[in-house]
């Protein structure tokens, strides 16, 4: 049929077009993104093997079986090497989609990430992810509805700060809290909590200071609902992950997921939740600098990076944590910088108890005497007798101390049990929640202490026991 050279040229050139198209197709098939990621992971971890689709069918049904509507998820095909979020959220049971949404069956990035919640614990969406029924919400026991509680906590509302600023500038007549970064209603307020907060939004005729305060201080940097300052030592997440997902000071990822750039700041250190929260994590927000009421701006600490010299150049070998912990503005006792913040500041204090507390001073109740007692009274201790005690749940989530039925622990003024401070024989022992180190807690009773019975606040203890900072 091909009779002339022109026809032959036409035939071969058009055949070449088809062949080229098919070659591109199969070449693309070989170089699919997920295969590239897996090859990178296998190479990095020096593992043999060929790329293969990784499938999970979440098993959240009775007896650890998949529910009838369970759908396969292929997320780990690309995110191979991603650490399991926590032992209490095993990936083979939970999968990824129940928290992160997105399209579990897709391998194309755009399709897979359609509707994705990069941080399911962000308070804007946490009620539908972490806080969904039978997870961390929907229980009759309010102590298990963590998302509700956190959303009402001072870490989320900043109610006291807002009231203080408004009062300082004469916008309100007293220090009563009526606004929060997040608003809401508490149907069962306590005598010293408020029944509702209105979401703070300065009106159009507000003082310039109010607008500046809302723009500069409430939209970024601190508070659980707002993104962090994008700078070394400030990197963190939002919502639950702001505390429970650890960030390196440089904001770099150190896990094994090949899809996450290791040289791009702003990522969590690894994809892991923890209740062993070190002071460094708290310091991504706290003790990082000062606020100017005149300009409504934040000034980072001059003695620490990024404003100051690198940490290695100015940190003393001894007492480094004291220097790194706090700004040079006061006095602190040994336990305040030897322990980690989470060792003393309890779950209810930090994550809230479901009530709208008006300010930190009213809400915070851990004092020196909680663990050390007074000259006339030993610290209050209580035996764990209920298998459903929240203190037991907390202990199960932390590898650094154990707690069982019959153990005797500190009970706070509000009856919250501090499971990591336990009576061992005749001594009270504090177990570090971050590294498990044991500290004997010396009692005041029987010591040389000369404190007055009506002088129990920490500032009185600081007079003798403080280190200058």
């Amino acid at each position: 049929m091909i009779t002339t050279s022109k026809q032959a040229y036409l035939f071969f050139s058009t055949s070449l077009l088809l062949l080229t198209a098919l070659t591109i197709l199969f070449w693309g098939q070989l170089a699919e993104d997920w295969k590239t990621y897996q090859q990178a992971y296998l190479f990095q971890t020096n593992q043999p093997g060929q790329p293969a689709v990784q499938q999970i069918i979440p098993r959240l049904g009775p007896d650890g079986q998949p529910t009838p509507d369970a759908s396969p998820e292929l997320c780990l095909t690309c995110h191979m090497g991603l650490a399991e979020i926590s032992p209490s959220h095993p990936v083979e049971s939970f999968g990824c989609v129940i928290c992160h949404r997105g399209t579990g069956l897709a391998l194309d990035k755009e399709q897979a990430h359609a509707g994705l919640l990069p941080n399911p614990s962000d308070l804007a969406v946490a009620a539908e992810s972490c806080g969904q029924d039978n997870c961390h919400g929907g229980y009759a026991d309010p102590t298990r509805n963590h998302v509700d509680q956190v959303t009402r906590s001072l870490q989320a509302t900043y109610a006291g700060g807002i009231a203080m600023i408004r009062y300082t500038f004469g916008v309100q007549k007293d220090l009563a809290a009526s606004f929060g970064v997040v608003g809401g209603v508490d149907p069962n307020p306590l005598s010293d909590t408020v029944s509702s907060l209105t979401a703070y939004q300065p009106q159009q005729d507000a003082l310039p200071m109010e607008t500046q305060f809302a723009q500069n201080c409430l939209t970024g940097g601190c508070h659980l609902t707002t993104p962090p300052i994008e700078a070394p030592y400030f990197y963190r997440s939002t919502g639950c992950a702001a505390c429970h997902v650890l960030y390196n000071n440089d904001g770099l990822y150190t896990g094994a997921d090949p899809t996450i750039a290791r040289d791009e700041p702003g990522h969590a250190a690894t994809h892991q939740f923890t209740t062993a929260i070190p002071y460094t994590q708290c310091n991504h927000c706290h003790n990082r600098g000062n606020y100017s009421l005149r300009t409504m701006t934040f000034t980072p600490r001059p003695d620490l990076p990024p404003a100051g010299p690198p940490l290695s150049e100015m940190m003393p070998t001894e007492g480094r944590r004291l220097v790194e912990y706090y700004q040079p503005i006061g006095q602190f006792t040994l336990c305040e910088w030897e322990l980690d913040c989470a060792d003393c500041h309890t779950q209810a204090e930090v994550m809230g108890d479901g009530h709208f507390w008006p300010d930190q001073k009213t809400m915070q109740y851990i004092q020196c005497r909680t663990c050390h007692g007074t000259l006339t009274e030993p610290p209050t201790t209580v035996e764990i007798t209920d298998a459903e005690d929240p203190a037991l749940r907390l202990a199960r989530l932390n590898d650094h101390y154990s707690l069982g039925m019959g153990d005797v622990v500190i009970s706070t003024a509000r009856g919250e049990k501090m499971g990591s401070v336990q009576l061992r024989g005749e001594q009270l022992v504090q177990f570090s929640q971050v590294d498990g180190q044991e500290y004997v807690v010396p009692p005041v009773m029987g010591s040389d202490c000369q404190q007055q019975p009506d002088e129990q606040e920490s500032r009185y203890c600081h007079q003798c026991h403080a280190y200058q900072r």
């Binding site: 077009l17 198209a21 098939q29 391998l107 897979a112 359609a114």
Partner: protein, 356 residues
């Protein structure tokens, strides 16, 4: 005793050119003017080729597609992600269908600009118009089977337009949707129409359309003038041209399917209808734009049907006279100008809607 010598070689020959199906679809000799590539641009052939490609890839997709509310979108994600070459198969299905619509529209334009609708090809012209409608329905039903947040709109608006027909509207809606509102039965019905009803009508119609070309005396050509010698080309020549067209179109489609996979949005949720941007499939954008200005009965039925009626009446309005077989013959400027105007209005309305 000896057997008579067979005239055929003893070897079994599986393929002989002169016994092949496609070869014998062509008449032995074709008038040179009809077979000229720049006369037809192979548009009818491209439409047939893309219909075949769409059908074959559709057959493959049927092994995985699940026509249920819960399964439709998920099965497409599965096809895209897990099935070997699934994303390519779906992309080729999609692009073949789009090219088919374009080819059919351009084919119709070619017929009008060369007066190919004149007798004795007037009946085949009407069949061709029927195939245009089937092609659009075929494509539309496939579009909504994606069942993502974009296509749910097309399904909602398209089916609601049925209700606008006076008298029979509600019955027609029940017939197409299978319920008082969009639900599981709607997707099953659209699927059945897509893979069976419209495919049967489409492929059957194409077969009849091609057969009618032979019956009506081949592809249109100028009326022979007395004394002029008539030139013919052998079917091998036409066959070769078709082969080259197939190679180019198939190569282009493979390339397009590899480099530009069709979109698939998040799964549709019927209770979220009303919160997303609405965009009809591209070939219905003009109707969507019209819906902004005129009542649905006019935009969705009367105006489109009037346009179709105009095309159907063309063989009656322009039956004979000079100009047949020539592109843009000035003797027949009226039907060409009318069609050109219609096409321009459709394009402008579509662009206005697309650029909104």
């Amino acid at each position: 005793m000896s057997f008579p010598t067979s005239p055929y070689p003893r070897k079994v020959r599986l393929w002989r050119k002169n016994k092949s199906f496609i070869y014998n679809l062509h008449p032995p000799q074709i008038p040179a003017s009809s077979a000229r590539f720049t006369y037809t641009f192979g548009l009818g052939g491209i439409a047939v080729l893309t219909a075949v490609l769409t059908t074959l890839t559709g057959l493959l997709l049927m092994f995985y597609y699940e026509p249920t509310l819960q399964g439709a979108h998920a099965s497409l994600v599965l096809i895209d992600s897990v099935v070997y070459l699934g994303h390519f198969t779906r992309a080729l299905h999609y692009w073949s269908a789009q090219v088919m619509v374009v080819a059919v529209i351009l084919h119709i334009a070619r017929i009008i600009f060369t007066a190919g609708y004149r007798p004795p090809r007037d009946v085949n012209w009407l069949i061709g118009l029927g195939l245009l409608v089937i092609t659009l329905m075929w494509d539309f039903s496939g579009y909504v089977l994606c069942y993502d947040s974009d296509t749910i709109w097309a399904l909602l608006v398209g089916t609601n337009l049925l209700k606008e027909l006076p008298g029979v509207g509600h019955t027609l809606y029940l017939l197409v949707v299978g319920d008082q509102a969009l639900g599981p039965s709607a997707i099953l019905r659209f699927y059945t129409w897509h893979v069976f009803g419209l495919t049967l009508l489409g492929l059957g119609g194409i077969g009849y359309h091609i057969w009618r070309i032979r019956v009506d005396g081949g592809i249109s050509r100028p009326v022979p003038t007395s004394g002029a010698s008539r030139q013919f080309v052998p079917r091998e020549t036409l066959f070769f041209r078709e082969l080259i067209t197939v190679l180019i179109v198939t190569g282009g489609l493979v390339l397009l399917s590899t480099l530009a996979p069709p979109p698939l949005g998040p799964p549709a949720t019927l209770n979220r209808v009303g919160s997303d941007v609405v965009l009809a499939p591209w070939f219905f954008l003009a109707i969507q734009q019209l819906l902004r200005y005129v009542p649905p009965l006019w935009a969705g039925w009367i105006i489109p049907l009037a346009g179709l009626a105009f095309l159907a009446l063309l063989p009656l309005l322009d039956r004979r006279g000079p100009g047949r077989g020539y592109w843009f013959a000035p003797e027949r400027w009226r039907p060409q100008a009318a069609f050109g105007g219609l096409l321009l209005v459709i394009i402008v309305l579509s662009l206005l809607e697309w650029l909104r």
